[in-house]
């Protein structure tokens, strides 16, 4: 089914080493457009490292990363963002001194067509752009049911809401590809199922491809089209959710070998 669609993100033989440790080891990945693709694996498997390579925070020592046909291996994070990639962070990287609305307004940076000199005198163009951006931001806030807390400072919010604000900030970038690093971590059962609906709707209504790292297996299995399992920076297994669930290698990576002594 997926073979008919174009690739949006391709990792070819990616490796990165920190000291003596190969955090990501000859990793290949191919995410198709409109796909929800999950990366799972035990702690320290190199999932977040892979994310950081894709979004440009780390530079791969070997291999190539292609995003919508462009080689982004050597690009800086802001250049990759300009190509249409948004992301969230495992340990939240919100702008803590700003309101919810301003966090999203900051993400409108690359969609705002004004220059410094216009902004100094605040001419009509600046005001029009600002109104347009604010409208877009409020559209996203209501999509995420955050409209009522738009003017609250983000530090006054609880962890689940902060996570949703960070998701909103990534959406305000209007990305083609969204990277979500453990979006369900710290959420309860109800919040997690809401999040699952939200991610499905991000793909369906906004047409955004989603690549996520997640430990919550019920969520991963219910929303993902395909799943890759990493351990020690290597791919152990790649396939449909039902294939992953029944794969002996995955069970081994998570729980250890059946015959080994604990």
């Amino acid at each position: 089914m997926n073979n008919t669609k174009d690739s949006i993100l391709t990792l070819q033989d990616i490796s990165i080493r920190f000291g003596g440790i190969k955090a990501v080891n000859h990793l290949n990945l191919d995410v198709k457009e409109q796909e929800i693709f999950a990366i799972i694996g035990p702690n320290g498997a190199g999932k977040t490292t892979a994310f950081n390579i894709i979004s440009g925070l780390y530079r791969a020592q070997e291999g190539t990363v292609l995003f919508s046909g462009t080689d982004i291996t050597q690009l800086l994070p802001h250049q990759i963002a300009h190509l249409g990639m948004g992301r969230t962070f495992q340990n939240l990287e919100l702008f803590t001194l700003m309101t919810v609305e301003d966090n999203l307004m900051a993400a409108r940076h690359m969609h705002t067509k004004t220059n410094f000199w216009n902004e100094l005198v605040r001419n009509n163009k600046v005001k029009q752009e600002e109104d347009r951006n604010r409208e877009k931001v409020h559209h996203i806030l209501s999509f995420l049911k955050l409209q009522d807390i738009a003017n609250k400072n983000v530090t006054d919010l609880g962890f689940p809401l902060q996570k949703r604000v960070e998701l909103g900030r990534a959406l305000a970038l209007e990305p083609k590809l969204l990277l979500l690093d453990e979006p369900a971590a710290g959420l309860n059962f109800v919040e997690t199922s809401e999040l699952s609906q939200l991610i499905l709707s991000i793909r369906k209504d906004l047409g955004i491809t989603v690549l996520l790292i997640e430990h919550d297996m019920s969520m991963v299995m219910s929303i993902s089209d395909r799943i890759i399992v990493l351990d020690y920076g290597k791919e152990i297994c790649l396939g449909l959710p039902e294939e992953i669930q029944n794969d002996a290698r995955v069970v081994e990576a998570y729980l250890g070998k059946r015959d080994s002594h604990a």
Binding site: H78, L97, H109, E119, R169
Partner: protein
């Protein structure tokens, strides 16, 4: 609707304040005018630092250096080209200071925190030495006299005229800063302060925005410097090297990252010697040190922050 009305009222009250300030020379003694002029100049330079620290977390000790550069540059240009009207000199000095900011910022902004502070401090110190070294241009240790600003045949030598000039430039600077604060650039700068990794993930070019911010802050310092030269009429490098920490003091007292903090801080810091001058005239630094300590410990958001939290607590009490 209510917002528009509120805004209207705000603009009207601002206009009244500006008109009163412009009319002030008619009623106020020269000494007070001079003091008010210094306060506003310090506020302009502190505003430059305020944008750097409050929005970009750029801890620069370069402000006294850029202010000195602007003062000497403006004074030398007006001496060499007496025909130039003062607005041209102000603009050229602002541009020259911005250019120096760009050149100094480019290598320095690779550094952060303490190291950035040291590098910019090094710039300021080196500049003071250079000013004394090129004594044929600057008068060296003996200082140099500044010719009064001119506009065609008009010579604006009186303190009243210079005061009005300072008020107008101060208003323009405040207008620019408040506009930038609301704009895309303002959002980008504040997002860099709150988290560079996240800002980069939103497509913000950190290196370029920081350089822009540093250049902007340096430009304000340079413009403040040339106004200072006009106001005092005489320059010595020591004037600026002794300013050292005063801009930080102004910001801490006024409120870092707020639009009106620099002005409020300047008023308070420069009025203190007027109040305590009799008793503590030999140990003003002791008073400043105590103030700095008290504000950092008790009101880190400065006077403006204190005021805001007072208002919110009164409002919440009224609601209850």
């Amino acid at each position: 609707m209510q917002n528009a009305k509120k805004k209207e009222r705000k603009i009207i009250s601002l206009v009244i304040v500006v008109i009163l300030l412009l009319l002030a020379p008619l009623f106020i003694s020269n000494y007070i005018l001079y003091l008010a002029g210094v306060i506003m100049i310090m506020a302009i330079v502190a505003q430059g630092l305020n944008t750097m620290i409050g929005w970009g977390a750029i801890f620069s000790f370069g402000q006294p250096g850029f202010m000195a550069f602007g003062a000497y540059f403006g004074a030398i240009v007006s001496r060499q080209f007496p025909m130039l009207p003062f607005p041209i000199i102000l603009i050229v000095t602002g541009m020259a200071s911005a250019l120096i900011g760009l050149v100094i910022g480019f290598p320095c902004l690779r550094l952060r925190g303490f190291f950035l502070a040291m590098a910019t401090y090094g710039f300021s110190s080196a500049l003071f030495v250079l000013i004394n070294f090129f004594n044929n241009l600057t008068g060296g240790n003996e200082g140099m006299y500044v010719s009064p600003p001119t506009f065609g045949p008009l010579v604006l030598g009186s303190i009243e005229a210079i005061f009005i000039m300072i008020v107008l430039i101060g208003v323009i600077a405040q207008f620019f800063v408040s506009n930038i604060s609301k704009s895309k650039t303002g959002h980008a700068w504040r997002s860099i302060r709150d988290g560079e990794i996240a800002a980069a993930s939103l497509g913000i070019n950190i290196a370029r925005e920081k350089l822009k911010l540093f250049t902007f802050g340096s430009c304000l310092a340079g413009v403040g410097g040339v106004l200072y030269a006009y106001l005092i009429g005489y320059l010595q490098a020591d004037f600026f090297s002794s300013m050292g920490l005063s801009f930080f003091l102004i910001l801490v007292v006024g409120g870092i990252g707020t639009i009106w903090g620099p002005l409020l801080g300047s008023v308070m810091i420069l009025l203190i010697p007027q109040v305590f001058g009799g008793v503590f005239s030999q140990s003003m630094n002791l008073v400043y040190g105590a103030i700095l300590l008290i504000f950092v410990l008790v009101a880190p958001k400065g006077f403006l922050g204190l005021f805001e939290s007072l208002i919110t607590s009164v409002q919440s009490r009224r609601k209850a």
